[in-house]
Symmetry: C2
Subunit: 346 residues, 2 copies
């Protein structure tokens, strides 16, 4: 492919847990990439990565790095995004930012392509990728909202450590080895031991006693669904799992919606990005070990509430690094190109 | 203490994960035990256990084993209870059964001493100890019910493997080692790999797509609280944790009950068997690693729902082998003696 005829794409945070997956997702993508720039902080400079049989050197992410870039995928933490995303946008790149830096900015579309692709048209240079736990939930709930309306969502999450980066996976591994040897564990990334434990806190506590992760799920869901009065309640919990977030979701549909499980299964089976795994007879339901490495959102344990006729319970699992981050970002990039919002040169 | 002046107590299933904890709880109990019999299946016969500086030989559990026994604590599986609990009762023993064999039998009281000790008076020889995940929830919810009524409970559990016995702990350990070495895992006790995974199934699936564990939480909560129309919904999930169940609980209090978090904390702080651990500023909340080995039910992450004025969220953790099983059984035995329902001889 000639350099002039495709897209120039940059990954910022290319050596992190999500950045590595972005590279992988781009490799499998239909995007006509002319040039791929891998950007990171100073200490990763000089490392190389393979991309479609090319070897690419990691460069330091600086404002000038974005000259000539069409699409820049950011996943290097909120501080880097706040500093460099506007610089990239100023230079004509469309930024797809995977941090929480701009998600609630009214000028910035917050997009899950299965749910609100039309919001991309309003971008002013920066598009935000939602929080991992939010993405998989809205992909599963949007078809229900379209068909039956939503009155209420109560979610309890079961989140993998990789949401906190590669160092968090290492911490889980090291702590697990220590516990098995009967040794004391060292904590660094997490506030408490995570090996063989459960921590009911993700991100910082807010004034209202909710964590920031919980408020992200509440506020981002409303923004993506463009329903600012939707009742969403969240409890976010970290588990000793490396990859794959799970969610126990209770949903109340519109007041008079007394739908059967079969109807729900049929609806979700046809929904974009959703795979139904729900066969109690064969002990089949979504689990993190099965979802890891896959792009879909898996839904199972679908059942009606036993007391509330419009109540429904769902179990939603997805790879938090893929649909929850890297894949959703690359999917946004693909949608930008497919819909002509970002035009190919040449 | 003279043999004639105390209680003759038997543990059935004395070598199992719960049985071992029953022995420990009896050791710390105020019960005036004259003789302790350790009963188990044939293959454990000949093993010995220490109890208050005595060495006790494990005997085979048979109908005749219960001659002269005042209180028999059963935890050897439902089949053993179904066969031997009536034999023990026939011989004058009061049975405290930790299996699900008799829990929903209308003739059998289902008791958590903090909640419904009065039900013990109606026993006809057998008393049932509720399911572990039910016990810790009702201990935390009963004070709320007394003070504010309960309209609705939606619980998602985070359950440790030890609920499935010692062999389940061994399976988690062995699978964890295999995963760390990059080897294939072997599954036996669980239907899928549990190491670094999450299994949204505990016990068998029922016709209505709920698991038996979920139906236990629903039906047992209603029976213990003696409120057969209470709306309870449960999703029960197994985690790679050895000991300590956690629960994310959404509660709707009585219609007009708009209570403050401070009120709820004050109420629960005074409630029997409950310890509030809820200090977001110091990242303090209940966790399995902290609850393991302790008798209390720990409650934290107490916060109001942001949309529903009578809605409340709680995080409840307890040692599933202690308050969830062995300690609740021994506590029932203590209550039987303290209230004169079982009388001391001599």
């Amino acid at each position: 492919m000639n350099k002039q005829q495709g897209l120039n794409v940059a990954i910022v945070g290319a050596t992190g847990a999500v950045g590595v997956q972005m590279l992988k997702m781009l490799e499998g993508s239909t995007l006509p990439i002319a040039e791929l720039k891998l950007l990171a902080s100073k200490r990763s400079v000089g490392q190389t990565r393979e991309f479609k049989s090319q070897t690419i050197r990691v460069e330091e992410a600086r404002p000038e790095s974005f000259e000539g870039i069409d699409i820049a995928l950011f996943s290097a933490g909120g501080a880097v995004s706040k500093q460099l995303a506007p610089e990239a946008a100023k230079r004509g790149a469309v930024v797809v930012d995977n941090t929480s830096a701009f998600r609630m900015d009214p000028e910035v579309p917050l997009v899950v392509p299965e749910v609100n692709p039309e919001a991309l048209r309003e971008h002013k240079g920066i598009i935000a990728n939602p929080n991992c736990s939010t993405i998989q939930m809205v992909v599963a709930l949007e078809p229900l909202r379209q068909a039956y309306e939503l009155n209420r969502v109560v979610v309890s999450t079961y989140q993998a450590v990789s949401g906190a980066g590669q160092s968090a996976i290492n911490e889980l591994t090291e702590q697990t080895k220590s516990v098995l040897k009967g040794e004391k564990t060292k904590t660094d990334k997490f506030p408490h031991q995570i090996a063989f434990n459960v921590i009911p806190q993700i991100d910082k506590f807010q004034e209202n006693r909710y964590t920031f992760e919980e408020m992200k799920m509440i506020n981002e869901t409303r923004k993506i669904m463009d329903d600012h009065t939707l009742k969403v309640a969240a409890t976010c919990v970290r588990l000793p799992v490396a990859v794959g977030h799970a969610e126990s979701v209770y949903v109340e549909l519109g007041d008079d919606k007394d739908v059967s499980v079969d109807e729900v299964i049929e609806l979700l089976s046809k929904a974009p990005g959703v795979t139904v795994v729900d066969d109690p007879e064969h002990l089949s339901y979504p689990m993190p070990v099965d979802a890891a490495g896959k792009k879909e959102v898996f839904v199972g344990r679908i059942r009606k509430d036993l007391d509330v006729k419009n109540g429904l319970h769902l179990w939603i699992v997805s790879d938090n690094l893929l649909k929850g981050a890297a894949w959703n970002s690359v999917q946004i990039a693909e949608t930008l190109v497919d819909s002509g919002i970002v035009k190919l040169k040449g």
